[in-house]
């Protein structure tokens, strides 16, 4: 159980010697159940990524608290792993060595590392590419490696920061389907940041709509679609269309209130 209680965060911003404080998150509350798939959607700059970093323990919040199974989070921990928007692969390491990286930090012996890394590369469909360097792979394949690296440490919570934002539309759809399959098998809690409404609805149990800066939770919506979901079926489902429409209006409202 991930609990986000009254989390606020502001940053100092300096433009030409003029320092102001920008409020990124204001009083965010959210509970995520074990094995739940929750998407957080909101306009650019609403603090989604900041929230994810706070949950991971990469940055502290000013007020409020994150707790996982009752324990307060202040640093990154072995129960969480992040999948980054820009993949964040090490260009001087092969795909295999990149996946091994997360295991190296956990002090696993070399043989076990390689075995585990190979296993996860197979699960994401990269078994034949273990000796390639990241720049030799397409964006979609690079993100598969990023996903394998995160899964390899066997976290209970997967934090995904717009993971498919940097790949083309067809690849994106493929990756979404693969992610759902993996999630169905591995059963992890997923907190998924996105600004695609389709993606949020297709993947999630619940969708959290956030307001523009300072980011607040505007609405939390249940996705009433059966699982397992197939992309073709879901996208034609009237409930899918209705919910994406609803989210669109909710986002528009949130942004409208912000500007006027």
């Amino acid at each position: 159980m991930v609990e986000i209680r009254k989390v606020s965060k502001s940053f100092q911003k300096t433009v030409k010697d003029h320092t102001t404080r920008v409020k990124a998150l204001s009083d965010v509350n959210l509970s995520v159940r074990p094995n739940e798939f929750v998407s957080i959607i909101g306009p650019s700059g609403c603090g989604k990524t900041t929230l994810l970093k706070i949950i991971d323990g990469l940055i502290p919040c000013d007020n409020g608290e994150i707790s996982i199974n009752g324990k307060s989070v202040t640093t990154p921990g072995p129960d969480r792993a992040v999948v980054f928007q820009t993949f964040a692969l090490l260009p001087w390491r092969t795909v295999l060595a990149n996946v091994e990286f997360s295991l190296e930090l956990r002090q696993l012996p070399k043989e076990e590392r390689t075995q585990t890394a190979r296993d996860y590369l197979k699960r994401v469909g990269l078994a034949d590419f273990e000796n390639h360097y990241p720049h030799e792979l397409s964006g979609g394949m690079q993100q598969r490696a990023g996903l394998a690296r995160a899964l390899a440490v066997n976290p209970t919570i997967l934090l995904m920061d717009e993971p498919f934002g940097a790949v083309d539309a067809q690849t994106r759809q493929l990756l979404q389907e693969e992610l759902l399959e993996l999630w169905q098998r591995e059963r992890k809690t997923v907190i998924f940041i996105t600004h695609s409404m389709d993606e949020a609805v297709y993947l999630s149990d619940r969708v959290v709509v956030m307001t523009p800066r300072p980011g607040k939770v505007a609405e939390v919506l249940d996705v009433p679609l059966e699982r397992p979901r197939s992309a073709d079926q879901v996208r034609g489902d009237p409930k899918f269309v209705e919910l994406t429409n609803y989210i669109w209006h909710s986002l528009k409202n949130a942004m409208g209130n912000h500007h006027e």
Partner: protein, 251 residues
């Protein structure tokens, strides 16, 4: 690479031909024909004079450059990693980077005397600052997302340094080392001409004042050869260490 090599060879051959012709048409004391230089070079080689002097010079070069690379990379890493160290040192490093190192020669003579220590110090001063600045820049330009990624997987400061910062900064560090090598060769010859007449620098001064232009050019060409070969050695090392970067650059 093959077409590049053949263009290089063509360039050298046409320059050599031009030189030979110019030398034969004009006064051969000012521009000796290449064939004369070749003969002079052969004589220097057989007498063992060139080898002896070159050994002295290369010893100075190696010692000075090794010190410059070690200390330069160390200071550069510290400056790139710690804002306080950077602010403490960058004024001096930048000033000394553009100041002519030659101006320090009298001071070095006072400190180290006229022996090999002074010459090593000149080579060091010529090479060290460009290595510091490149290393520092390389460290500062490491993609912060990679550091964040490592931290999120539980990396400690030491692991972040050795597994992320150092390999990511390696191409910039090696670029600094390459530039430093070029400057070190300049420092070597400068020290040998200005400080104590030894090594190939002494040969230049000797043949220059004696108007022995054929031997003079033979020595100069030898120095050029040394410059090219040391550069090649550093490039080879660079490719060994940062092959991944070169491949990305080609694409």
């Amino acid at each position: 690479m093959n077409s590049r090599l053949s263009t290089n060879v063509l360039s050298i051959l046409s320059l050599a031909a031009l030189w030979e012709i110019a030398g034969r048409i004009m006064d051969s004391t000012l521009i000796p024909p290449l064939s004369h230089i070749g003969t002079a070079w052969w004589k220097l080689l057989v007498s063992g004079k060139l080898a002896a002097n070159l050994t002295t010079s290369l010893g100075t070069l190696a010692a000075g450059f090794f010190l410059a690379a070690t200390i330069g990379i160390l200071i550069g890493l510290l400056m790139g990693r710690f804002r306080a160290v950077e602010h403490f040192l960058d004024l001096y490093v930048n000033a000394l980077m553009s100041a002519p190192a030659i101006a320090f020669v009298p001071v070095l003579i006072m400190w180290f005397g006229l022996g090999v220590e002074s010459r090593i110090a000149v080579v060091f001063l010529f090479a060290v600052f460009v290595i510091i600045i490149n290393t520092m820049t390389g460290v500062k330009q490491v993609d912060s997302v990679l550091v964040e990624m490592a931290r999120s997987f539980g990396a400690k400061e030491k692991e972040i340094f050795f597994k992320i910062i150092l390999p990511a900064a390696m191409p910039a560090i090696m670029a600094g080392v390459r530039l430093g090598m070029g400057r070190a060769v300049k420092g070597m010859v400068t020290a040998e001409m200005l400080l104590t007449l030894t090594g190939v620098g002494a040969m230049i001064m000797q043949y220059g004042s004696a108007f022995a232009t054929d031997s003079l050019f033979a020595v100069i060409l030898t120095i050029l050869l040394v410059a090219i070969l040391t550069m090649r050695a550093v490039q080879w090392l660079d490719r060994r260490m940062t092959g991944w970067k070169a491949e990305i650059a080609i694409e």
